[in-house]
Every structure is written in C-alpha cells, then in structure tokens.
C-alpha cells in the first residue's frame, strides 16, 4: 500500500512502519510545538505542526489521508481540544492523542469519552511518543475487520512482517495485548485467502448510507435496544453483503454516540459556565410525556433568539448534545428521509453559520432566524457516509446496558429544528462548543450511563411555555450534494436521525408545532443540551455531526 496519497502526499510505507508515520501536532504553545516536533522527528516520524485547532482541521480536510495520527493539546485558544478531537474522529476517523498539563481524572475521562485514543500528560517524554504508532496500527486492524477487505489487510500483514522480524517484537506488545490479539484474528480470518492478488487500492469501508443506517435503526428498534445484538440486527436488515462485524461495529458507535449525547445533555442542561455535576432532575422514571414536554420546551427555547437563552456562553456542548438528542431520537419511517433538514431551504443561511468555524454569537442568530423556515425534508440526498467514529470502548456498554431505550424517544421532536442547520454541515462547531463549555465542568460521568434516563431528568426548560419546535422527521439525513461540507458533518446527524423511528405521524419537517399527535413514546429524549446549544454561539457543523450520531439509537 505504498501508493501516493490522494493529494500527492505519500502514504506511509507499511514495510518500514512505524517509521514515516505522518503525525499532525497541534498546540498553541510554540515552545511545546518545537519540542514535540523534534521528539517526533527523532522517532523517524513525519511531522507537521500547527498552532491552531482550526488550522489543523483545515489541514486535515485538505489533505485527506495525508496524516495517520493527530496529537493535540486540550487547551487551545480557538477551539476546545475535545471538540477538535471529535471533529477529527468524525470527519477523518483518525486516531487522536490528547495532551495536557492537567492530569485530573475528570479531564482524562472527558478525553476518552470524546474519543481520544490516549491522553498524555505534559511534560511529555520521548518514549511516550515512540509508541504512538500502536494507535494507528490498532485502528487499521479494526478497519480491516470491519470491512473485511483485503486491502487493509495487506497493509497490516506488511506491518506484521515487520514486527515478526524485529527482535523485541514490540509491535506485538506495544502497551496492550489487543493489537496482538487482533492480529491473530485477522490472521485467522484471512489466512486462506490469496494475498498476492490484492491490488493496492484503498481499502473499502462499509459505507453506512442513509438507507442502510435506516434499516439498521429500524432493526434495532424492532428488536428492542436491550435485546439487540449484531446477529439479530443483521438478520432483520436483510442486507446480503453486510457482515455481522460491520453491524457490530456500527452498533458500538451508535451506542457510544447516544451515551455521549446523553452525557452532554446532562452537562449542558445545568446552566452556567462551569457545570457542576448535575443530577437528573426527575430521576429516571418520570412521565415520559412530561419529559417530552420539557424537552420540547427546551428545544423550543433554544430556538428563541439569543436573548432568551439562558446560557450565553459558548456551550458548544449543549449544542451538540441537543442536536444529538434530536437527531437520534426520532423514529422515522423508512421513507422519510431527513434530507439535510431543509438543507436546501436554509442552506444559504446556514451555510455561513455552519461553514465558518467562527464561534461567534452571530452564528447563533443566523441560526435562529433560519430555523423556523426549515424544514423540508427533501428526499434524495446524497448518501451520508457514516464515518467510523474512533472510539474508546469505554462508554459503549455503560449506559446502554441498563438503558431502556424508550426514554430516548422523548427527545425526538425537540430537536429537529436545531438540527437542521446543523445538518447543513455545521456540525463541527457544535461539537467545538460543547467541548469548550464542558471544559470547566467536572461533572461526574458516572451518572450518565443511561442516556435516556438521565436525559430527561436533567432537562430543565427555561421557559415552560415554549412550543416545541417542529418535529423533525429524522430518518436518515442526507445532505444535498451541494452541501458537501455539511455532508461530512451530517453524516453523524443522519446517523443519529435514523435512530429515531418517527411514528407515522411524522415528521414532516414543516414548521408545524410539535407533533402533538405523535406517539409520545416516539419522541426520543432530546438532550436538553441540544437546544441549549442553539442558544449559544454555536458553530454548527461540527457539533452536529457528533450529536446526531449519538442519538442515532433507535427508539423502540
């Protein structure tokens, strides 16, 4: 796999792996940047440095496949490191390592939750950097398994050969046993294939199109979240070329998103800059309808012009969460595809918001004004490719184990509006915001295990008299082609949206009020944050993605 990169940047040569690993280092401290650059060069890595998160994202987007791994500081002036983390994971699906002077458990936990594959404490020793290749390797292994393609396999085999030849065989034990184990699995799987025929084409990933994801969500909903398993889903989906592994990995991501969404919701729902741990308002239980109303209120609230917003600080997190909530919570009829949340209609307006990476409140205003017009779910969006989210295994099981999915539904309706703009590719921003806002929070994550349950209680609509925003029919969202950038972001959103099974009443995204006639159960819990996010300056594109996916879980 040594073909040149897409933009002319050479791919790393697998036969000398890990030398030549292409690393992007992001740190606003020039001293550290210089030191890290030197350290990485000494490890024979190919280093690119960047002093701003935004620059880094631009670089990554320009040079798709131009980097193997990203190392970023948590405290960046223009964007919260966690947000960058999420963006990278969602859009580029690269492993990201976080760095910080602060080694507090809560921070590290956040890092992991946001998808960091490692968290390094400054001052950083060179030996810690030597082993970062393991994250790249691990990811490749995962991908190969997911896609069952031979291309990635070839690369991995080459890497393996390197390790076998090396004396200390540290490739095998770099830190944890997983790579070794995975290698065995991969080996076992592909042993009898003829490798010689592998052409060095790019490995083919399973593309989770809107339709595919919809099927997935339907299946999940049908089975019931608690009872869901990859095999069952696979059977229900009835897609011949899909494998159990594909589904399993997709399911994992889905769960992860939901969990994260939930947490974010919880976090953001507590107002203020630094969120203290907030406990779910009505502890689990609660009347679903009530929650729904709350959510709706919250959602509506978020649509209000900035002045109404409670939290004016950039609580990207909230945005994100909100979005997520909305997106995922809705149940959508298969046919109803959330096409970019009225992407067309407010594409123009939203695009500014979404596209610019600015974190100003102006965006928000734009967003607000745009919102009401939104929704027309057009069909025929381009496929949204579900990008594999790089993720720590960590949360996946937590919240879901005991979650009853149904509560998620409550949030459903709320969100669509906010989501729309987001869908337009504004994602990234949201996520950024969220990251920012959550930076000061030391909320305990422990309480977030169950997305649905926690979401609802914590939600506190600022103004109970809101009308819920137009319900969002979220089946799958596909962004229109012309919204390319947003497409990236939307991916997740779509993913999320799909999670919601909108009852037949749905959701037409016209500006109707909340779907009163919707089956309450249908409304997934909309993370309160989702709407809060709207309140703040929020950079849509980024965060959207993120939340959406999270909430992708189905609502039974």
């Amino acid at each position: 796999m040594t073909e040149g990169g897409i933009n002319g940047f050479s791919s790393p040569r697998a036969d000398v792996f890990p030398a030549g690993l292409r690393v992007l280092v992001v740190d606003d401290d020039p001293t550290w940047l210089k030191i890290l650059e030197k350290m990485l060069k000494k490890c024979s890595y190919e280093v690119t440095t960047c002093g701003l998160a935004i620059e880094a994202l631009d670089l990554l987007r320009e040079r798709k496949d131009g980097f193997d791994i990203v190392i970023s500081d948590v405290n960046m002036p223009d964007m919260d490191g966690f947000k960058l983390l999420e963006h990278v994971g969602l859009e580029m699906d690269l492993p990201v390592i976080m760095m910080s002077v602060d080694g507090e458990t809560s921070r590290v936990m956040r890092g992991v939750q946001h998808g960091a594959c490692d968290y390094l404490l400054k001052p950083i020793r060179m030996k810690e950097l030597r082993n970062i290749w393991q994250h790249v390797y691990r990811k490749k292994i995962h991908e190969v398994r997911d896609t069952e393609s031979h291309d990635g396999l070839e690369e991995i085999l080459m890497m393996r050969n390197v390790s076998e030849q090396s004396d200390d065989g540290y490739l095998l034990c770099g830190g944890d046993m997983t790579p070794g184990k995975k290698r065995k699995d991969a080996e076992h799987k592909y042993d009898d294939k003829d490798f010689a025929d592998h052409s060095s084409i790019k490995k083919a990933r399973v593309v989770w199109t809107v339709d595919l994801h919809q099927k997935f969500v339907k299946a999940v909903n049908h089975i019931g979240f608690e009872k869901v398993g990859p095999k069952k889903i696979l059977d229900l989906m009835n897609v011949p070329w899909l494998t159990r592994e594909n589904v399993a990995s997709h399911l994992q991501k889905y769960r992860l998103y939901l969990t994260r969404l939930q947490k974010d919701d919880l976090k953001t729902s507590s107002s203020g800059l630094k969120h203290p741990d907030f406990s779910p308002r009505d502890a689990a239980g609660g009347d679903r309808t009530d929650h729904l109303k709350m959510q709706q209120n919250e959602a509506v609230n978020s649509y209000r012009p900035p002045s109404n917003l409670l939290l004016q600080n950039a609580n990207s997190r909230i945005h994100e969460v909100d979005l997520k909530g909305t997106a995922s919570l809705q149940k959508i009829e298969p046919k109803k595809v959330l096409t970019g949340f009225a992407a067309k209609s407010h594409k123009a307006s939203c695009s500014n918001v979404g596209m610019s990476h600015s974190f100003g409140s102006t965006q928000y205003s734009t967003y607000n004004s745009v919102l009401p017009t939104q929704y027309s779910w057009n069909e025929g969006f381009t496929e949204i490719q579900f990008k594999q989210e790089r993720n720590p295994q960590f949360q996946v099981e937590n919240g879901f184990a005991d979650l009853g999915l149904p509560p998620l539904q409550q949030h459903n309706q709320l969100n669509l509006q906010p989501l729309q703009p987001i869908a337009n590719g504004l994602f990234g921003k949201e996520r950024d915001k969220q990251a920012k806002s959550s930076s000061g929070t030391k909320s305990s994550f422990g309480s977030y295990s169950l997305p649905s349950q926690n979401l609802m209680p914590s939600f506190q609509p600022p103004d109970p008299s809101f009308q819920p925003p137009d319900p969002v029919t979220s089946s799958t969202w596909s962004l229109k082609d012309d919204q390319q950038t947003s497409t990236d972001n939307l991916e997740l959103t779509a993913f999320l949206l799909q999670g919601q099974n909108c009852p037949s009443t749905n959701l037409d995204m016209q500006n109707k009020g909340m779907l009163e006639d919707n089956d309450p159960g249908f409304i997934a819990e909309v993370p309160p944050n989702l709407y809060d996010a709207l309140r703040f300056d929020y950079e849509f594109p980024d965060s959207l993605e993120y939340p959406v996916i999270d909430q992708g879980l189905f609502i039974v």
Binding site: D29, W32, I35, M39, V101, P123, M126
Partner: protein
C-alpha cells in the same frame, strides 16, 4: 586549549549539576538536551529562548488581571495554567512550584495569596532566565565538548 577548555567544561558541568541539585530544573531539561544533535546543535538554547519570549505575554496578562477589582479567579487560574504548561516545557521546576501554589490560591479565592505568589513566580522566572543565559554563554565560549577532549 585543552586545559583551559577542559576546565571550562568542568565548570559548566558543575553549574549544570547545580541547576538540578538546587531544584531549578527538572528531568525535562535533560530531555531537551537529549534532543540536541548535529542537526540541531543549539536546540536547548533555542527552546529556552523561545520559552522566555513566548511566556512573557502570560506574565503580562497575569499582571493586568491582578490589577482588576474584583479579581477574576477563573481567568487567573486559566492564565496560570497555560503559563505552567509552558514552563514545564523547559523543566523550570521552581517556577512550576510557584505556579501550582498560585493556582491553589485561586481555587481558594485568596487574593492576597495570589498576588504574593505571583511575585514569587516572577522572581523564580527571572532568576532562572539569568542563570540559563549565563550558562549558555559559557557553553558557547567553551566550545563543543569534542574539541576539548580531542587528544593533543
């Protein structure tokens, strides 16, 4: 040369050792030294120079922030956090200790403590700067070690 040069090198080595013994520098400084090589023969000095140049803005901002009434502890903490991170890059041990102390006072919302500690931070920062400048100058004068050790 040799004798004088060797003496100089010995002197430099002692000074360097004293930095560690007296707690001015920590292990991170050694890391920097290890990164220095033929392609970057003055790496350590470059990094230290860069640090002092870049970190000045933190001190300036902290000074300004400490003038405000009432004090914005959250901002002070954030600024100091960044400054501390930067100081850790060159292994400025005493400076870091004072930074930590400052942050503790911030958390305790102790204005007096903050102001007092900030003076300590600046003092340690400046002391180290002078010591390192002298050290690098000596090292430059003494010339590369290899020369000194070359057999006559």
């Amino acid at each position: 040369m040799d004798r004088n040069q060797m003496q100089m090198h010995r002197q430099i080595a002692n000074i360097r050792k004293s930095f560690f013994d007296q707690g001015y520098l920590d292990e991170q400084f050694v890391q920097l030294e290890e990164l220095q090589d033929s392609s970057n023969p003055n790496f350590v000095e470059e990094v230290v120079t860069l640090f002092y140049r870049d970190s000045a803005r933190f001190l300036y901002n902290l000074d300004q922030a400490l003038e405000k009434r009432p004090l914005d502890f959250s901002r002070l903490d954030s600024l100091m956090h960044q400054f501390k991170g930067s100081s850790s890059s060159i292994g400025a041990k005493k400076v870091k200790i004072e930074c930590t102390q400052f942050r503790d006072y911030c958390n305790a919302r102790n204005a007096e403590g903050c102001k007092r500690t900030f003076q300590h931070v600046k003092k340690e920062y400046t002391t180290l700067k002078k010591k390192l400048e002298a050290y690098f100058q000596m090292a430059r004068q003494a010339g590369p070690m290899e020369t000194a050790c070359r057999p006559r």
